[in-house]
């Protein structure tokens, strides 16, 4: 049985290939949870897939429906381990009309999008198979799927939405086909027994085009051996696409820092420990004078800190109490001065009502700052250093996962785990993920843009940023005042269709002769561009001549 579920106006469909009564068709009653209104186990699972498709469809435009062939089925599992699911593109294409780069493999859905036609009629684009048995006796006992759509999985639950979203991302283009498996040493190297680092059928893939080693360079110019070495060059494998590069400062966190701006005697950046509560430091951050509260801040904090940065000594009560009291007094941020020597550690504790940032500085720095406060104002900036971003190199290129400990067979097709905050396409499905692929939460949509998923709201194959006409409808016959010309409408390179230009002729014409002349000019342009034949041009002009315009 095959059932297709689609959204009105969206272009990603989940093709349910489960048999009746199982998987997505499992009629076992279930209680709606976390925004998932399904009332059976199967319906809830399908709703999660549908939600994942919806999230992707909000980021990707394609005039060709993206078909995800999905099943919720038993996969191998035991009390201690399980296959959660798998996904990937069903096929790849190269050298099709619309390919940005010749001699390059594209994932099927992307090839369809760029060409505007289904490369393999009748076939689906992505295959996804997920484990329906999780949580049943003998299958990771005590751990279940979370079917909610709100990222609120509890202890012992795995967020199905995050996993499905992640795996479909691989199928849409977040993966390379460069070989990562050691060849059979008993056989000579060949396309059937390739070396690690060998390109798929000796051609690069679209993902690989943006993979680079910040020591040895782009993968495109490398030998198989060089790529093999690069894929385990931990912390040096990076993504060099322009969209991701631009998004890095908006998505990834800089290094938190505290800088004393004045007086000169103690100016400079100070070592800090950051807090596990309140808001993190950000950029451009907060620049204010310090106000010292010598009371330790355990009962209350002086109102003088209002609109300033509070300096409070460590001791007696918890960090959370001190920071909350400073927040209540109107402080914008808090610096805790340590009461013991050594490098400042982080501030532990939890209080969701705390919204201001706080850090700890060393005892020595605290003493120096307090001494200066006796002489005059001390001005401080608390922010993040965007030149040192977690998960990016000095050039602000996002790092890819290339752990040396897994050689051979490292990932490459994931973001590095040092990315902060956690990203959807890191190899670990982190519990703090939110279901988003967009800036400012996530870099994945930007990567998709880099590999060729350009925005194209009217799916006329002209990118939105160079499309002069919104809402171009291609394919239908050109009609003039309701009378069909029998000529299929097509789009000029500037994104305007023949119909849209004829409509403009009608709107601007002072008289019928002017209209007919304008349409003839449009027909000439279309014919010169190879969009229509001479006979089709004649058909258009004939209908225009008979139209009562103006």
């Amino acid at each position: 049985m095959m059932t297709t579920y689609a959204f009105a106006g969206a272009d990603i469909v989940i093709v349910n290939v489960n048999a009746p009564g199982v998987g997505f068709n499992d009629a076992t009653p279930a209680v709606p949870i976390g925004g998932n209104t399904g009332t059976t186990r199967g319906e809830q699972a399908l709703n999660v897939f549908t939600r994942a498709a919806q999230i992707w469809s909000q980021s990707l435009d394609s005039g060709v429906q993206i078909k995800v062939e999905a099943s919720f089925e038993p996969r191998t599992c035991s009390t201690t381990s399980a296959v959660l699911g798998s996904a990937g593109t069903k096929s790849v294409d190269s050298d099709f009309a619309g390919a940005e780069f010749p001699g390059t493999w594209y994932h099927e859905a992307l090839a369809n999008k760029r060409s505007g036609v289904r490369q393999t009629p009748g076939d689906n684009d992505i295959r996804a198979r997920f484990n329906s048995e999780l949580g049943k006796p003998g299958c990771l006992d005590g751990t279940t799927w979370y079917f909610g759509l709100d990222d609120q999985e509890a202890t012992g639950q795995i967020d199905l939405l995050a996993v499905v979203l992640h795996e479909i991302g691989h199928g849409l283009g977040f993966s390379t086909f460069v070989n990562k498996v050691a060849p059979d040493p008993a056989q000579p190297l060949s396309e059937d027994n390739p070396a690690i680092g060998h390109e798929f059928f000796a051609l690069p893939d679209i993902y690989e085009r943006y993979v680079s080693d910040d020591i040895t360079g782009s993968w495109l110019g490398m030998t198989d051996g060089q790529r093999a070495a690069s894929m385990v060059n931990d912390q040096h494998l990076v993504w060099v696409g322009g969209r991701v590069h631009s998004a890095v400062p908006q998505v990834l966190s800089g290094t938190p820092r505290v800088t004393v701006n004045s007086p000169a005697a103690i100016a400079g950046s100070k070592p800090i420990g950051t807090a596990g509560f309140g808001s993190p430091l950000s950029s451009p951050g907060i620049t204010r004078d310090l106000v010292y509260d010598s009371s330790l801040g355990c009962a209350a904090v002086t109102p003088a800190v209002a609109g300033k940065i509070a300096l409070i000594d460590r001791g007696v009560c918890t960090f959370v109490v001190k920071v909350k009291n400073a927040q209540n007094a109107g402080a914008l941020a808090v610096i805790i001065a340590d009461n013991a020597p050594g490098a400042p550690a982080g501030l532990g504790g939890a209080d969701p009502t705390i919204t201001i940032p706080s850090v700890r500085i060393s005892q020595a720095d605290g003493v120096a700052v307090k001494a200066q406060l006796l002489l005059g104002p001390v001005n401080v900036t608390m922010d993040t250093d965007l030149t040192h971003i977690a998960g990016a190199n000095a050039a602000l290129d996002a790092k890819l996962y290339a752990p040396t400990v897994i050689a051979p067979g490292s990932s490459v097709s994931h973001w590095d785990v040092s990315e902060t905050p956690n990203q959807l396409m890191e190899p670990f499905i982190n519990g703090d993920l939110v279901a988003s692929v967009k800036v400012p939460k996530d870099l994945t949509e930007s990567l998709m843009r880099d590999i060729g998923w350009y925005p194209d709201a009217d799916t006329d194959l002209v990118p939105d940023d160079s499309d002069s006409c919104a809402g171009s409808a291609v394919g239908a016959s050109i009609s003039i005042v309701g009378r069909s010309t029998g000529v299929p409408d097509k789009v000029f390179p500037n994104g305007c269709s023949i119909s849209q230009r004829i409509d403009a002729c009608a709107a601007d014409a002072a008289n019928h002769g002017g209209f007919a002349s304008c349409v003839a000019h449009v027909g000439d342009d279309a014919k010169k561009a190879g969009m229509i034949s001479g006979a089709q041009k004649g058909a258009i002009q004939s209908v225009a001549a008979g139209a009562g315009i103006p």
């Binding site: 191998t76 201690t80 990562k180 059928f201 460590r314 504790g349 897994i406 990932s411 519990g431």
Partner: protein, 140 residues
């Protein structure tokens, strides 16, 4: 005896999670959340948390063998009249999400793209590159 041992071990693990799981704060950069989904894992007769056995690992690698294959053997490059090329991957070159019980009793998950990577993860040898350690922070 075994039952008592199991109960005691379970209590120890529960206490560990309560003390360190709840009391541990994540500081900016110093610690980042992982897929910990802390749970009480089953323990064996010796009170040791059960982790995947070689047989269980083999079963999983058999299940994922095709999905994680990077072999082009048998794949055909179809050349079309318009000059384009097409290859049906036959369910190979896929990404696979796996889960396992770690030595700490917690469930860990990882997405892998090769069989080698899958084995390392299931055998508990994967050590995430540069993954900041979770640090227990002072609260006062």
């Amino acid at each position: 005896m075994d039952r008592n041992l199991n109960r005691n071990m379970a209590l120890i693990i529960t206490m560990f999670i309560l003390v360190f799981g709840v009391g541990t704060a994540s500081a900016q950069h110093a610690a980042k959340a992982q897929a910990d989904n802390a749970q009480l894992a089953s323990v064996d007769a010796n009170g040791k948390v059960k982790t995947p056995t070689p047989e269980e690992i083999q079963q999983i690698t058999q299940d994922t063998d095709k999905n994680l294959s990077h072999s082009t053997k048998g794949l055909v490059v179809v050349k079309r009249e318009d000059g384009s090329k097409h290859v049906d991957l036959q369910d190979r070159f896929q990404a696979v999400s796996l889960a396992r019980v770690g030595a700490d009793g917690k469930i860990a998950t990882e997405c892998v793209t090769s069989q080698e990577e899958a084995k390392k993860f299931l055998e508990g040898e994967t050590k995430p590159a540069s993954k900041p350690a979770t640090v227990e922070l002072e609260t006062k």
